[in-house]
């Protein structure tokens, strides 16, 4: 029982709410933010780090970057509310024992105010705060291209991940969107947005090759978006990433899809077990995930990261 300790004059309250730091959980941009939150600004960042600790002796870096421009319509907003489930899902289903998750956002460096936003790798729910601070652009170009190549450049050259550097195991990078990368990482954009001085542009194929030595890279295309199912977009990504292109017909299952992909890669589950988990969740995405992941499941055989110590595989 209490005593009503806190009270405010009604005339005072509105002003105090306006003055209070902070906004609603998903609303950094809803409240008019048009510039990148300082915590997500890639400029001048040496490296976003995923590190082992006493608590997490075998960290696994997992990055999820999504397109925040207008052509995706409501997709980024749905992702902003769905993605906080990812960590719990990975741990609960035993897909990964010590995941460290980074969230980021991809815009268009040629016309957006916030072309690249990159959070931190976190092993607890602090990454949700990054998610909340992501500015949703809603501008979007009409030319089916976004600056994915810039995001890939940052992830290739400005992350330092113990799973690779100490344990020789690649991390996971997921990009969710419905458009294509520009053909080249442009030196001018890198300089103004990230701060590096490049002597020349880098072909997107070259940055993909560099990136895939560090991460297993996946592209997820949500259906119902502007360019969903667009052959040109799919073909472009298949050309770059091969079978690691996933068409997703049920956005509600985005966390399950990401988690399942990690589970398969870590050899913590086989595809049938994973699909059982999807059905258990009641997701209708089973068929498309199954279609998309069948190739990955088969292609990986024992998993790309097959050196999973037994104590990291938690079976339920």
């Amino acid at each position: 029982m209490g005593s009503g300790r806190w009270s405010t004059d009604v005339y005072d309250a509105a002003e105090r709410y306006r003055a209070a730091r902070g906004t609603s959980a998903f609303a950094y941009s809803d409240h008019g933010a048009t510039t990148v939150h300082p915590g997500l600004n890639p400029f001048g960042v040496r490296a976003r780090e995923s590190r082992d600790s006493a608590e997490h002796p075998a960290s696994l870096a997992i990055a999820v970057l999504f397109d925040v421009t207008g052509s995706m319509n409501m997709v980024p907003r749905v992702l902003q509310t769905k993605l906080p489930e990812l960590l719990g899902l990975l741990l609960r289903k035993g897909y990964a024992a010590h995941p460290q998750i980074l969230f980021g956002a991809i815009g268009d460096a040629t016309c957006d105010r916030v072309p690249l936003q990159i959070g931190q790798f976190e092993s607890d729910n602090r990454m949700d705060d990054d998610l909340a601070r992501i500015v949703l652009e809603g501008g979007g170009g009409g030319q089916k291209t976004e600056s994915y190549e810039l995001a890939m450049y940052f992830m290739a050259r400005h992350t330092s991940i113990d799973c690779l550097e100490r344990h020789g195991r690649r991390g996971y990078l997921f990009m969710i969107g419905d458009e294509m990368p520009y053909p080249r990482v442009r030196a001018g954009e890198v300089r103004s947005i990230i701060g590096d001085r490049l002597s020349e542009h880098i072909a997107v194929e070259a940055i993909v090759a560099e990136l895939t030595t560090r991460y297993d890279v996946y592209y997820i295309l949500p259906e119902g978006t502007a360019h969903a199912g667009d052959r040109q977009v799919l073909d472009r990504w298949r050309g770059l990433l091969g079978q690691n292109v996933i068409q997703l017909d049920d956005l509600d299952a985005v966390c399950e899809t990401v988690a399942l992909t990690v589970g398969l890669g870590e050899d913590a589950i086989d595809l049938d077990e994973g699909l059982d988990h999807l059905r258990e969740y009641g997701s209708g995405a089973g068929r498309s995930v199954s279609r998309a992941l069948a190739a990955i499941g088969a292609g990986h055989g024992g998993g790309t990261n097959s050196l999973v110590p037994a104590d990291r595989v938690l079976r339920l």
């Binding site: 004059d9 509105a14 609303a27 729910n125």
Partner: protein
């Protein structure tokens, strides 16, 4: 991942705040905590938390886990939300170093709003009751519930704050109805309220029905009860109760709605002695203890009345455990107080006019005549005391046949001692 539900097995003030703070620090059975969910009562809750570096906050609407970075608060549909009190609480938290409490808050759109009109009506009624007052906190919590029962569709809810037109209509109707009943109320104008509540909506995330399910899947959740089971609207000692369900019933409902029934372990919080803030039956009250053990966080409330202290009442605690459907473990607080005194006794039975009663059988929810009769019995009951031979922890565990899983020797997380394992509940197939 384990969800834990925390209720107070007495009249409140047992130390739910400090227990929820400890769980939220990640030391509990579920490891790191994602969110604290409030499931009853409103801003009249007063859950004290003290940090190891000496900062102190009385949590009223924000979850008592808020001192731990990243731990969220969700106010469920059962919560009564008072936006005016909330911003005062947020400002105080900022003053003690927690500047992002609003960012970590979500509020169910269906949660009822407590407004200045409810508070004014509450005070007008308590004044009219005079000496027969019920021990209300004077904030309008009971009025909020009563109005919503009578006018469910017109009751202002959190979701209305973002819709000035609807909110204005609802507030005007509320004010006019209460003033029609009680006479003109000393309360601010509707426009001022609309503006303040609108500012609340602009700063706080209002959540839809499905949000809690997502929260439960995202990580371990602590359900933080307010008041105590002995004040429950149906199982408390009528009419000295709160207008709120203080048992696990709301937690059970929320979990079932979220598709995760029965997934929370149930933790009861208990002091090594008894307290009651406000009027009503208190069989083991001892004036010498009230004088000897003033509470550092509770004084004489203008509306609530005196803070009273008595001996550990196992008859009442047993009743509380039965009334709330059982607990999986107990957290026993104020062990440091018990250790330093030899005048604390334990009540194992009541003397009811020559008849000995060791158990009070709970009745079905909803029979207030029966509860009022129980209240009359309790006013007549005399405690039968024994000594706490074995010490508080063993006495409680043995007499109640429930494991004491956590002991508290002081206000901070560093003063907590794990005494047993709070097993997680299996998810039913």
């Amino acid at each position: 991942m384990t969800h834990v539900a925390v209720v107070d097995l007495g009249y409140g003030d047992a130390g739910k705040g400090t227990v929820v703070d400890w769980l939220s620090s990640g030391a509990g059975p579920g490891g790191p905590v994602h969110a604290v969910v409030r499931f009853n009562g409103g801003a009249q809750a007063a859950h004290n938390v003290v940090t190891p570096d000496g900062r102190h906050h009385v949590f009223a609407q924000l979850g008592s886990g808020t001192f731990t970075a990243g731990v969220r608060t969700h106010l469920s549909r059962f919560m009564l939300v008072d936006p005016l009190a909330l911003i005062a609480e947020v400002d105080h938290l900022a003053a003690v170093g927690v500047t992002d409490a609003l960012e970590r808050l979500t509020v169910d759109r269906r949660a009822l709003l407590t407004t200045p009109y409810h508070a004014a009506a509450n005070r007008a009624r308590e004044v009219a009751r005079g000496e027969a007052r019920h021990g209300s906190c004077g904030m309008g919590v009971g009025e909020t519930v009563a109005y919503a029962l009578a006018h469910a569709d017109d009751a202002p809810r959190a979701g209305d704050c973002g819709d000035p037109h609807t909110l204005r209509l609802k507030l005007a109707r509320l004010r006019d109805r209460l003033a029609g009943e009680l006479g003109p109320l000393p309360a601010p104008g509707v426009d001022a309220c609309v503006e303040a509540f609108g500012a609340f909506a602009a700063r706080v995330t209002l959540a839809d029905d499905a949000y809690l399910g997502r929260l439960l899947r995202a990580g371990s959740v602590v359900f933080e009860g307010a008041q105590g089971v002995l004040l429950d609207e149906w199982h408390g000692f009528h009419p000295y109760t709160t207008w709120s369900t203080t048992t696990f019933a709301n937690v059970d409902t929320l979990l079932a709605e979220a598709g995760a029934p029965g997934t929370a372990v149930r933790l009861g919080v208990l002091r090594t002695y008894a307290t009651r803030h406000g009027p009503g039956p208190f069989v083991t009250e001892d004036a010498s203890l009230t004088a000897a053990l003033p509470d550092r966080h509770n004084g004489h409330g203008r509306w609530q009345g005196a803070f009273r202290v008595g001996h550990l009442d196992l008859v009442a605690v047993r009743y509380a455990i039965e009334a709330c459907g059982g607990v999986d473990g107990l957290a026993l607080t104020h062990l440091d107080v018990a250790a330093g005194r030899d005048d604390l006794r334990v009540c194992r039975a009541y003397d009811l006019g020559g008849r000995r009663a060791e158990r009070l059988a709970p009745g079905p929810a909803g029979d207030l005549d029966r509860q009022a009769a129980l209240t009359r019995c309790l006013f007549e009951a005399r405690p039968v005391y024994g000594r706490m031979e074995a010490g508080a922890i063993e006495t409680v565990a043995n007499e109640l046949d429930v494991p004491v899983v956590l002991g508290s020797n002081g206000p901070t997380v560093l003063d907590k001692r794990v005494l047993g394992r709070l097993l997680s509940r299996p998810v039913p197939a």
